[in-house]
């Protein structure tokens, strides 16, 4: 395999597939799917401890240990910059000072579309406090550049709505983003099946982050391996430099002379 690492905030990763840990039926399935995906960076959410919960219940971090994975705490469910910032301060304490985080500030609970105004505000505060921010955002290339200028270490535009499985709806905007930012661009949200992940990588994206595509598949572990292959295939195709698309070429693949008659 070619040496083609993904570098985020100065750290090297070999998998360009990042996965979430939500929506699985149990921890065993979560662990199996994450392992099948080959992902090194996995997202987690931060929630109130349930007072009165069974104290013998295992903790997610026991099955997905911080020593083995790069855990990326998210701010899922946050609708304000303030909540997102507070959540990530708690996350950094929870993970012993680990400062690579995923910022998302949502605008409405039905579409789960990001509120980019609050996202910009939260990003400014977090970068000032020393966080390394991988930021979930819309596919607006102007906002993407502003987030990079603020100091975010990766831009993560949606392909389509969170959990929708609709795939890459606007490859043109993704291209605009990639022309304008220098930091890694990782498609996050809306991937539904393997070809979606491959398309994202063929466009030149540096990675893909997904959760529902795997967890809501009929066979999540098999889908996780499919996604691993799709991201690798898409990346290799991108690096290989595809042939041009033309309406017609008039140039068949077999010789035009020596035909029998």
């Amino acid at each position: 395999m070619i040496n083609d690492p993904l570098i985020i905030a100065g750290k090297t990763y070999h998998s360009r597939l990042l996965v979430g840990t939500g929506k699985y039926k149990d921890f065993a399935e979560t662990k199996a799917a994450v392992e099948a995906s080959g992902a090194e960076i996995i997202t987690i959410a931060i929630r109130r401890s349930n007072i009165g919960q069974n104290p013998n219940e295992p903790n997610l971090l026991e099955i997905l240990p911080p020593a083995k994975y790069t855990l990326l705490p998210n701010t899922a469910g946050c609708y304000s910059a303030d909540d997102a910032v507070r959540t990530l301060r708690l996350a950094r304490e929870l993970l012993d000072g680990h400062s690579l985080v995923k910022l998302e500030v949502l605008g409405d609970p039905q579409s789960l579309y990001p509120n980019v105004v609050e996202t910009l505000s939260a990003a400014k505060t977090l970068v000032k406090e020393g966080f390394q921010v991988m930021v979930y955002t819309s596919d607006d290339p102007i906002i993407a550049k502003q987030l990079e200028d603020i100091g975010c270490v990766a831009i993560m535009p949606l392909a389509s709505l969170i959990g929708s499985g609709m795939g890459i709806l606007n490859p043109w905007n993704l291209q605009l983003i990639m022309e304008r930012v220098q930091v890694p661009v990782i498609v996050d949200a809306g991937v539904g099946t393997a070809s979606d992940a491959a398309i994202a990588m063929e466009l030149g994206c540096h990675g893909v982050l997904m959760n529902t595509a795997i967890a809501a598949a009929k066979n999540p572990v098999l889908m996780a391996s499919a996604m691993k292959l799709a991201v690798e295939a898409g990346r290799a195709a991108y690096l290989a430099g595809r042939m041009p698309k033309k309406l017609y070429s008039g140039a068949p693949s077999s010789p035009t002379s020596g035909l029998i008659s």
Binding site: G20, T21, G22, K23, Y24, T30, T43, I44, A45, I46, R47, R48, S49, I51, P55, N59, L60, L61, L71, P73, N74, A76, R86, T87, R89, L90, A91, E93, L94, L95, I162, G163, M210, N211, T212
Partner: protein
């Protein structure tokens, strides 16, 4: 509810909001003791008190005060 301090040995009870729900405790109670009471001693948690993060290293030194608002969080699955 708070009973004003009276001559020694009187019980002082304070009320504290934890994860949105009001609870009552005998004063003094350190954060470390609270964590033990909540059976969270073995869990990886983070704690915010009145909007400020309390580092784990400070749990034994900090004592709850009446009216404190705590958020205690853990890592869970998420996308």
């Amino acid at each position: 509810m708070r009973i004003l301090p009276q001559p020694d040995n009187e019980l002082i009870v304070i009320s504290v909001s934890i994860n949105g729900s009001t609870q009552h405790f005998e004063h003094p109670l350190s954060i470390a003791e609270l964590i033990q009471k909540m059976a969270l001693g073995d869990k990886r948690i983070a704690l915010e008190r009145n909007g400020e993060i309390v580092p784990r290293s400070q749990f034994s030194q900090q004592h709850l005060a009446h009216g404190d608002k705590l958020e205690i969080v853990v890592a869970v699955g998420g996308g």
